[in-house]
């Protein structure tokens, strides 16, 4: 029996095959997929897009399968960078590795595409301060508190609200109350990506804290669920809502003025840039990598004023 593994597959018309891997199943990653596919078309590669339902455990298995497929490069979003070092080492040993969305500086990755979720969290904290300048209570809602992006967003937001200076990053568990000078973070409720739970969590919070100031959705679907629950409780306006990501319902809420603002990254560009770089690297072109090894795709806050323009642009991108 002869082995003919490494030579890759005969299919794909000779185009190199690269992979783009998210860290969860979410609309965020579907938008990213759009960008990845666009770049694949433009730069002449085949792209396998993978999204793990179950975080790190699934990622490991998917990586193994991709490597078995003879892939030419992987743009990887580590669900748990600290502990996935050897997985990334394994990737780097067998093929080209870049990270995107969340970084692992210690890993042998060629470069990182994206921005820091921690910074996005800080940005969100600033939105909360704007929405509620006189201070008040805040509660966060998230699918999985342990997941890296959730952790970073929450930490950034916490540090901002507790007025920790830039560069000083705290490490607060999600299940305790954090009191700052003006702002109190009551806690973080998780829902395991069960939307019904996401909604009833908000309802329970509204029942418990009749005077709650601001509700924050850390995962993309959390914000619309907050919006719905607050609306049903007839407390729109009295309770401020701030969130992450660009779900349609979130943007609609921003348009109506019921959601104060949302922090958006640009997943489309994560996908696009990652595949562009992988395509070049696969063809031996190393010039795409900047000296800093950091390809920045910045996050920004979308508020009532700029939501229309942002939405229009987004629709064009994902068409």
């Amino acid at each position: 029996l002869t082995q003919c593994g490494k030579s890759g597959e005969p299919s794909g018309g000779g185009k190199p095959r690269v992979a783009y891997m998210g860290n969860a199943i979410a609309p965020f990653w579907t938008i990213a997929e759009k960008g990845a596919r666009k770049a694949a078309d433009e730069f002449g590669v085949e792209v396998d897009v993978r999204m793990p339902a179950n975080g790190a455990a699934d990622q490991k298995r998917m990586v193994e399968e991709l490597l078995a497929r003879g892939i030419k490069g992987i743009a990887f979003s580590p669900a748990d960078p600290k502990n996935q070092l050897d997985l990334m080492q394994e990737i780097a040993k067998n093929t080209i590795l870049i990270t995107q969305d969340s970084d692992a500086p210690d890993a042998p990755r060629q470069c990182f595409v994206g921005m820091d979720n921690y910074q996005a969290g800080r940005l969100c904290g600033k939105l909360i301060k704007e929405a509620m300048p006189e201070g008040g209570t805040v509660m966060c809602f998230v699918g999985r508190a342990g997941q890296l992006n959730a952790k970073q967003r929450r930490q950034g937001l916490t540090d901002e609200l507790l007025d920790r200076p830039e560069g000083q990053q705290g490490d607060d568990p999600p299940d305790v109350e954090l009191k700052g000078a003006k702002y109190t973070i009551l806690g973080t409720r998780t829902d395991e990506v069960d939307f019904a739970k996401a909604k009833s969590n908000v309802q329970d919070a509204l029942t418990r804290h009749q005077d709650i100031g601001c509700l924050v959705g850390l995962f993309s679907y959390n914000t619309p669920k907050i919006y719905e629950a607050v609306k049903e409780a007839n407390r729109l306006g009295k309770v401020k809502i701030v969130g992450f990501d660009e779900e349609d319902d979130t943007l609609r809420g921003v348009q109506e003025g019921h959601i104060y603002g949302t922090v958006v990254q640009s997943p489309y560009h994560y996908g696009y840039e990652s595949v562009r770089i992988l395509a070049a690297l696969a063809k031996g072109d190393k010039s795409v990598i900047p000296a800093s090894k950091f390809v920045e795709v910045p996050a920004k806050a979308v508020k009532k004023g700029d939501v229309d323009a942002f939405w229009k642009q987004l629709k064009e991108l994902v068409k």
Binding site: L186, R189, D194, F195, D204, A205, R208, P224, D248
Partner: protein, 316 residues
């Protein structure tokens, strides 16, 4: 009746304790919400009860909730189907799923656990594939349809009852009559006790078993529709995950024996209420959500243990 005494006591206990600690628990807003979630889960629980009474199990409930719940907004919004056609499609699909389970279980003689486990995997996969894992939602439209889940009937003092409550009560009444007052219900209970003896008594056990799976899948589908309408957006990969366990737990807490042949619809409602009230009271009392599962598990375990010990004492 006696079988649900323990669980009813537990329900009352949890309510009293929570209300004592936080008055908002009994406020109009919270009561309405708890009743709504209880109603939605009770619909699934009633379906599960029918299957459990036959001595079977349906693990696909959550995936059917997911599939039908995803298809409805997808058909309405993405495919532009009309409301009655989309609803009809969702309902027919769930009935067909039940039929499929029932036939495999009775005619091919596969184990219910295996059939519905495969169902769990398949329907989830289909929902995800059809929608390319995209969240599906009503995009702010179909408000009159969504009234089925979000509508309210106002009561004095700001209190209100959600429409799903009335749907659930209707289903529960029909189900209770079916189970206790009709020949079919009697046949269902009989075959759950002893399928062979039921066949020797002239009961067409296969048909009744199929019927039970159809009812369960139908109610799951209906639940899926209501959950989707209530939530506005659903995620194909996650919507309804683990709901089969909640549904089965509600049924079992409510006195259905997994050995078959026993069950009470009222019990299922109370079982569903216990699950929801517990979850709600944990939230309202401000416990960390990390502990929610642990608390629910412990309380249920204490409840059934106390129940069993009391029952035994009464017997001796």
């Amino acid at each position: 009746m006696k079988k649900i005494l323990g669980i009813t006591t537990l329900l009352v206990l949890v309510c009293v304790i929570t209300a004592a600690v936080n008055q908002n628990f009994l406020g109009a807003y919270n009561v309405g919400n708890v009743v709504k979630w209880t109603s939605l889960f009770a619909i699934l629980g009633i379906g599960a009860a029918f299957v459990i009474i036959t001595g079977g199990i349906d693990l696909s409930i959550g995936s059917v909730v997911g599939l039908v719940g995803t298809l409805l907004p997808w058909l309405l919004v993405k495919k532009g189907w009309s409301v009655p056609v989309a609803l009809g499609a969702g309902v027919s699909l769930s009935v067909l799923i039940g039929l499929f389970h029932g036939v495999l279980i009775t005619k091919v003689r596969l184990q219910p656990f295996v059939v519905t486990l495969c169902g769990l995997l398949m329907y989830r996969g289909i929902a995800r594939t059809l929608t390319h894992d995209q969240d599906q939602g009503f995009e702010g439209k179909f408000d009159s349809l969504r009234w089925l889940a979000t509508g309210r009937v106002q009561l004095p003092n700001d209190y209100w009852l959600p429409i799903p409550f009335f749907i659930m009560i209707g289903i529960a009444i029909v189900a209770a009559i079916f189970l206790n007052k009709t020949v079919w219900g009697r046949h269902l209970l009989a075959l759950g006790r002893n399928e062979d003896a039921a066949r020797y008594s002239g009961i067409r056990t296969d048909r009744m078993i199929i019927l039970a799976y159809v009812l369960c899948a139908f109610l799951s589908g209906l639940g899926g529709i209501l959950f989707a309408l209530e939530l506005n957006t659903v995620q194909p990969a996650g919507h309804g995950n683990f709901y089969e366990l909640y549904a089965i737990a509600a049924a079992v807490l409510g006195g259905c024996s997994l050995r078959g042949g026993e069950g009470s619809i009222l019990g299922v409602l109370i079982g569903a209420a216990v699950m929801r009230v517990l979850s709600n009271s944990i939230g309202v009392l401000g416990q960390a959500s990390q502990m929610e599962f642990a608390i629910i598990g412990v309380v249920i375990l204490l409840g059934v243990t106390a129940d069993e010990l009391l029952r035994r004492r009464r017997k001796v």
